[in-house]
Every structure is written in structure tokens, then in C-alpha cells.
């Protein structure tokens, strides 16, 4: 196997151009193009050779993307519904999957032919995911699943699900979990849309009744599911954080400023106007600092000594976004009483929110910012304990069998 560790940026660019010579996005469809990209090791350049990668640093992935965009008007970039599979499914299959799984699943994740979802959260296990109750009971070469998952993005489109289930209720909660790859088309899997505050369903509920899952679809060993899940969750934080515009005044703040410039100037007194203007300026500062802090995090990361600036982003962004959209409605004044789009219950086609969105929609949708991917309260615990080194709360569920723990 050739050693690509020393491959320079120029060599990687040349390799990307070789891909474009063979399959140009302007001439071939997305799936064959992405298959060719995978075959050239340009899917995840930090993955091993033969699995869509070249053993390079993850930082070099951006070079491939830049080079494609440089030479093509069409990029055939990541399909929206594939974000979970590409960001979280692929790394976990690569680390824990069998050779057969890697060979058959990785290319289809990358091309978007097979969508993946994540089956962790449950109605009784939100922040405390490790307390989940879905059971898996061994039966010959199979496991039999029973339980309910919730907040499952793209489950209705998914071919595979990353599932965490309880295989041993008699040990403390973290020790009794195992990790499976669930065939979403298996009998007994029932996916239903979960309508939310806006009337749309970005997420699903997944019910499992006597679902059979072969033992060889277990990732990692029996009882080691939590460790495998951590790999997935770490990748989720990377996928959710690090947002924000890279350009000054770009992104969300430009929407707010547009709203401010178009406001009904007769609706407010001079005093109210001054207060609103101050709040708009505060939001401008918030968004600038999100952008600058992300920039600072990239610099310290590249220097090899990542500081706390990276871990504060999720908490700050969630709270700042909520404030910004609350302000947007206040700028609208009486117009904020109307919700023109209405609340027709509906499921989004891709299952992923990609709308730039109206202020009123964002006002409602942004409430989830401080809940999804770790509530702000959990993020404050993490910052307090892992970054500042403060002691944890006394835990009543750590040393006793899961089945003895009080649950809602």
C-alpha cells in the first residue's frame, strides 16, 4: 500500500484534478461522481486507503472541496439527508465495523444512496441518554428489540440506524448498553413523524416491536455500547458547533439588519427605538464574536493547543440565536401577532432544516437551539466540570443496577 502521509497539498490538488478528468461533476450525476470521488480516496482523506481515504490529516479535506469548486460550477457536495451518515455513521463503521460492513456501507453512505439515522434519545432518556430503556434480548444468533426512540432526524428516509439498546438491565446503566446497526426496513420498525412547535416534522419517532437484529450487526462488544456511542456523539458536537458566518456582517445578522432597516418607523416612540437599536447592536456584537471566536478556535487548534474557545461556542450560539430571533419579533411589533405561513402539519422532504427562513419561523425553531445536541444546562455542566475542573454533582445512579434507578 502506498504511503500518502507525506502527500503535499499540491499533490492532493493534482489527485483531485485527476478525479475531475475522469468524472466531471458537470458531466456526470451526483451518485457516480461521488462513487468516483470515493474510489480515488477523496471522500474522507483522513480515512485509510481503500475506504474512501488516503491516510491524510482531516484538515486536508477542505482542499479537495476547494479544488472541485475551483474547476466546476457544480460540486455534487454532501446531500442534506446524508449529514448524519457522513459525519457520524462513517467514522463509527470505520472504527468498529466488520470488513464486510466497511466495504459495503461506506461507499453508499458517501454517495447518498443509503441514508443513516441515529437512534439514541428516548422519551425517558433525553440529557441522560445512558439511562435509555429500549431492550435487546438475545435469541440464538439474533437479538430481539423492543422500545421507542425519539428525535430521530431523517428516520423516514433511512436505510440504516445507529442504535443504542440495553442488553443487560442488571448492571449500572453505562455497562449494560450495546451498539447495533439496525436495518430500518426490518419487520417491526415503525417510523412516525414528530410534529413540532412550527407544525413541521424535522424529526421522527421510531417504534420497535419484536424487531430481530442479527448478532453480527453489533458494533463493539456486548456491554461496550456506551464507548462506541461516545465516538458518535463526539462527531455530533463537531457537526453542530462551528457554525456561524465566516464573513463579517454575513449570515443571520444580515437578516436581522434587513428587518431593522425595513421596520415601521412610526410604530415606536423615540425611546422604544433607542432601546431596540441598542438590542440590535448587541446582537451584531454577539454574531461578530461568534465569528471571531470560531476563527480564534481554528487558530489555536491548528497550533495544536485547542483552548476553551471551541467548547463555549455551542452554549453561546444557542443563547445568542434565541435572543436574536426574540428581538426580530419585537422589531416587527404588532406584525408579530400574525403567523402568515400557518401551522399545517407537514414533514420536510429532506428531513433536514435548510431553510434560511422567515423571522417568525426562526423565532419558533430557535427554541430548540438550547435543547438539541445537549441542553444549555448540560453544556454549562460540561464547561464547569471538564473545562474549569469543578466537581460533579453527587450521582445516585452510577453504582446501582439500571433496573433499580428511578425513571420518569
Amino acid at each position: 500500500m502506498a504511503d500518502h502521509r507525506s502527500m503535499s497539498e499540491d499533490e492532493l490538488r493534482a489527485r483531485t484534478r485527476a478525479l475531475l478528468d475522469e468524472a466531471h461533476p458537470e458531466q456526470v450525476e451526483a451518485i457516480p461522481f461521488r462513487q468516483a470521488q470515493y474510489d480515488h480516496g477523496l471522500a474522507w482523506v483522513h480515512f485509510p486507503e481503500g475506504y474512501g481515504g488516503l491516510n491524510l490529516s482531516p484538515k486536508m479535506n477542505v482542499i479537495v472541496q476547494d479544488e472541485i469548486l475551483e474547476h466546476s460550477k457544480i460540486s455534487h457536495g454532501m446531500p442534506a439527508a446524508s449529514i448524519i451518515g457522513i459525519g457520524m455513521g462513517a467514522p463509527v463503521v470505520l472504527t468498529y465495523g466488520t470488513e464486510e460492513m466497511k466495504k459495503s456501507m461506506l461507499p453508499k453512505i458517501f454517495t447518498g444512496e443509503e441514508i443513516w439515522c441515529q437512534l439514541f434519545s428516548e422519551p425517558s432518556a433525553g440529557s441522560d441518554v445512558a439511562g435509555l430503556a429500549t431492550s435487546a434480548v438475545r435469541d440464538g444468533d439474533d437479538w430481539i428489540l423492543n422500545g421507542q426512540k425519539v428525535w430521530t432526524t431523517v428516520a423516514h428516509l433511512s436505510r440504516w440506524g445507529m442504535l443504542l439498546a440495553r442488553t443487560d438491565p442488571d448492571v449500572p446503566k453505562h455497562d449494560g448498553l450495546s451498539y447495533f446497526v439496525l436495518d430500518m426496513q426490518a419487520p417491526g420498525v415503525d417510523v412516525r413523524p414528530l410534529y413540532q412547535i412550527t407544525g413541521e416534522a424535522e424529526f421522527n419517532e421510531v417504534f420497535m416491536t419484536d424487531v430481530r437484529i442479527p448478532h453480527d450487526r453489533m458494533l463493539g462488544k456486548e456491554g461496550q455500547g456506551w464507548r462506541v456511542a461516545i465516538t458518535t456523539l463526539m462527531n455530533e458536537r463537531v457537526a453542530i458547533g462551528g457554525g456561524g458566518s465566516k464573513r463579517k456582517g454575513g449570515g443571520t445578522i444580515s437578516q436581522l439588519l434587513e428587518l431593522w432597516n425595513d421596520r415601521n418607523k412610526n410604530a415606536h416612540s423615540a425611546g422604544q427605538e433607542a432601546l431596540l437599536r441598542d438590542r440590535v447592536t448587541r446582537s451584531y456584537i454577539d454574531q461578530e464574536l461568534l465569528r471571531l471566536t470560531a476563527q480564534r478556535a481554528r487558530v489555536t487548534q491548528q497550533a495544536g493547543n485547542p483552548g476553551p474557545e471551541g467548547s463555549v461556542a455551542k452554549l453561546a450560539q444557542a443563547e445568542m440565536m434565541k435572543r436574536l430571533w426574540e428581538l426580530a419579533i419585537d422589531i416587527l411589533g404588532n406584525d408579530g401577532l400574525a403567523y402568515e405561513a400557518g401551522y399545517e402539519l407537514r414533514q420536510q422532504a429532506s428531513g433536514i432544516d435548510t431553510t434560511e427562513g422567515l423571522a417568525k419561523y426562526q423565532f419558533l425553531r430557535s427554541r430548540a437551539n438550547s435543547i438539541e445536541g445537549g441542553t444549555s444546562e448540560i453544556m454549562r455542566n460540561i464547561l464547569g466540570e471538564r473545562v474549569l475542573g469543578l466537581p460533579g454533582e453527587p450521582r445516585v445512579d452510577k453504582k446501582i443496577a439500571w433496573k433499580e434507578v428511578a425513571r420518569s
Binding site: V280, T281, R282, E377, G384, L388, P394
Partner: protein
């Protein structure tokens, strides 16, 4: 242009050297000793800092005997000084007056005074605010009178950094050329300098009363834009100082939360306290982004520097005050005592917030600059 935010090994070395020096020369006992004096600083420590370590001339070009460094080095220095609550005429002399000399005055005066400052021999300051309560330059009402023997100044200047000890005062006043700078030496006739009993006694402020005091005009033409830049440069450095103080409050509060036991466990294990600390951490990190952006922007002479400086002063002022206030709360009763240094940071935080315009003032400036 994107701000780079890179600190080199040399910057880290500067930080380490300074932290060690200040730990020895500006520990709590030293701060308490100096804040109780009228002068407000230890001349021996100033002599070492300014003369031997070259800190007074940090941003002064080498041709005037300075170190010729940029605002990136200055931000490191300010952060460390803020952290230790150093009592010294640094902000007034090495930042405010130095920038005024670099940007506003004639070459002869610039050279003479910068050489003195860089050598640690001259303490200088700028007097612009008056008793009308305004920080903006349009609020300057003092007019210089031109007589046979030159210009004279009459009236009052307020909140002048180290105004009672400075050797040289650069006074902002109007005359026919517009807003100008006048040099008044400490021993000028008709000058009365009064130390103001300040909220933050680690930073000395003075009131200056002029009564037909002879003054040399040392600038040519209207200096409004140049002085605006000088004030922005000063608040950028002050923002870095605020960050140093805020970081110290965060560290002190966190340390106390780990060691103070109530109801059988450390108070930092309770979410009520832990979440306060986490929020302080977020604000301190964002304050760093703001202050660093302003100082890197100053160093790179970026087009949007004025905006970045206003943003930094607005955000860092509130972040520091919040950190200092929470530091008291987390320390409980002890946080309210004279014995612990917690109140010194609280007072420094509020006074830095008000000095040269509070957060709301700078948000309004920012709004004007970016067209909100």
C-alpha cells in the same frame, strides 16, 4: 481582512516573563501599599518596568528609543497588568499619551517626549473630558486664548489619568484651527492639580484647573479624527486590560468554588454556582475574541479598526463587570470584605467600564459606524 489571532513563542515568552515579574512586584500586598499612597505607584518598580524592561516604550518606534513593538505585544502586556491590578501610570503614559504623540503632535514635541517616555523618565497624560459629563470629542468646550506671549488655557479638565503626578499634560482644547493639543508642563503657572478620591483607588484620576495657564500649541490643524483614533487605540488596550482582570475573577471564583465546602460538599458541585462559572467562562472567552480582534486590528492598521475597538470596549466592559460581580457572589460573605482582594477587581471593573465611555456609549458608536 481576516484577523489572524496567532500568538508566537515570543509573545508567550513575553507573557511568562511579565507574569513572573508582576507576581513578585505587584502582588496583593504591593497593590494594597500603592493604592493607599497619593502618588499611586512605586517609582522603583516603574523604573524597572519602564527603563530596564522597556515596557514604557513598548509601542514607541526604535528611532525614539522605544522597543518598536505592535499592539499585539501591547495586548499581552495590558492583559497581564489587568490581571495583577498593577498600580502604575502605564495606561496614561505608555498608551494614551504615547498614541497622542504618535498621531497628533509636531515632530519636535513627539521626539522630545517619546524619548523621555521610552527611557522611563517622563510620565505624560492626555486631558480631554470636562465637567459636562461627556467623553466624546464634540463635548470639549475649553478654548485656548491667544495672547502676546502665546496661548493660555482656562477652565477645568476632569478624570485625567495620573493627572496629579504627570510631568507633561497634553490638553485637548479648541482654537481657530479646530480641536488641538496643547502641552502644559507640571509646574506651569495657574495650574492646580487635585487628586480625585476615586471609586477604584488602584487607578489615580485627577482634576485639573487652569487659570490663564501658559500652554504650547503642539498640533497643526484640526485633530478631531486623529484624536478619535487615539481614543479608540486607548480603549482597545483598555479592553485587553479588562480581559486580564475578568480572567483573574473567573479563576479566583472557580478556585474558591472548588475549595469552599457547605452542606458537606464543594459549592462548585452545585449547579447554581457551576453554571455561574460556566457563563463567566463563555463571556471571558468572547471578551478575549473582542479585545484580541481590536488589538490585532490596530497592529495591522485594518480599515475597520474603529468599529472593532468600539465593539471590544462595549463587550469587555460588561464581561469584566459581570465576572467581578459574580466573583463577589460566589465568595459569599467573604467576597464583601475589605480583607479579600475581590472588591478591588469589582471597583476596577466598574471604573474601567465607565472610563472613556461605558458599554452603551460604545454600542451607540458601533451602531453609527456600521449603519445600524
Amino acid at each position: 481582512m481576516a484577523i489572524d489571532f496567532t500568538f508566537t513563542d515570543e509573545h508567550e515568552e513575553l507573557r511568562a516573563t511579565l507574569r513572573a515579574f508582576l507576581k513578585e512586584k505587584s502582588d496583593e500586598a504591593a497593590v494594597r501599599e500603592q493604592m493607599a499612597t497619593e502618588r499611586g505607584y512605586d517609582p522603583d518598580v516603574w523604573e524597572q518596568m519602564a527603563g530596564q524592561m522597556g515596557l514604557a516604550g513598548l509601542i514607541i518606534p526604535e528611532e525614539f528609543g522605544g522597543a518598536g513593538y505592535t499592539y499585539v505585544e501591547l495586548l499581552v502586556v495590558m492583559e497581564e497588568m489587568g490581571r495583577s491590578l498593577l498600580c502604575a501610570p502605564y495606561l496614561g503614559t505608555a498608551v494614551l499619551a504615547t498614541n497622542a504623540l504618535l498621531h497628533c503632535v509636531d515632530e519636535t514635541t513627539r521626539k522630545e517626549l517619546l524619548v523621555g517616555i521610552a527611557a522611563g523618565e517622563t510620565i505624560a497624560t492626555v486631558a480631554h473630558a470636562e465637567s459636562n459629563g461627556r467623553w466624546d470629542l464634540a463635548g470639549v468646550e475649553m478654548r485656548a486664548e491667544k495672547g502676546e506671549g502665546g496661548f493660555t488655557l482656562s477652565g477645568r479638565k476632569c478624570w485625567v489619568l495620573d493627572g496629579h503626578t504627570a510631568d507633561v499634560l497634553l490638553v485637548v482644547a479648541r482654537h481657530e484651527a479646530g480641536l488641538s493639543l496643547f502641552r502644559v508642563d507640571a509646574d506651569a503657572t495657574g495650574l492646580e492639580r487635585t487628586l480625585v478620591p476615586s471609586l477604584d483607588i488602584t487607578r489615580k484620576l485627577a482634576q485639573l484647573d487652569f487659570n490663564e495657564t501658559p500652554a504650547d500649541l503642539v498640533s497643526a490643524g484640526d485633530q478631531t479624527d486623529a484624536l478619535q483614533r487615539v481614543l479608540a487605540l486607548t480603549v482597545a488596550a483598555l479592553a485587553a486590560e479588562q480581559v486580564g482582570g475578568a480572567q483573574m475573577c473567573l479563576e479566583t471564583a472557580t478556585e474558591y468554588a472548588k475549595t469552599r465546602l457547605q452542606f458537606g460538599r464543594p459549592i462548585g458541585s452545585y449547579q447554581a454556582i457551576k453554571h455561574k462559572c460556566a457563563d463567566m467562562l463563555v463571556e471571558v472567552e468572547f471578551a478575549k475574541s473582542a479585545a484580541y480582534a481590536a488589538c490585532f486590528s490596530a497592529a495591522g492598521n485594518e480599515e475597520d479598526f474603529l468599529e472593532t475597538a468600539a465593539l471590544a470596549k462595549a463587550y469587555c466592559s460588561e464581561a469584566y463587570f459581570h465576572a467581578a460581580a459574580e466573583n463577589i457572589q460566589i465568595h459569599g460573605g467573604m467576597g464583601f470584605t475589605w480583607e479579600l482582594p475581590v472588591h478591588l477587581y469589582f471597583k476596577r471593573a466598574k471604573s474601567s467600564e465607565l472610563f472613556l465611555g461605558d458599554a452603551a456609549y460604545h454600542r451607540e458608536r458601533l451602531a453609527d459606524l456600521v449603519g445600524i
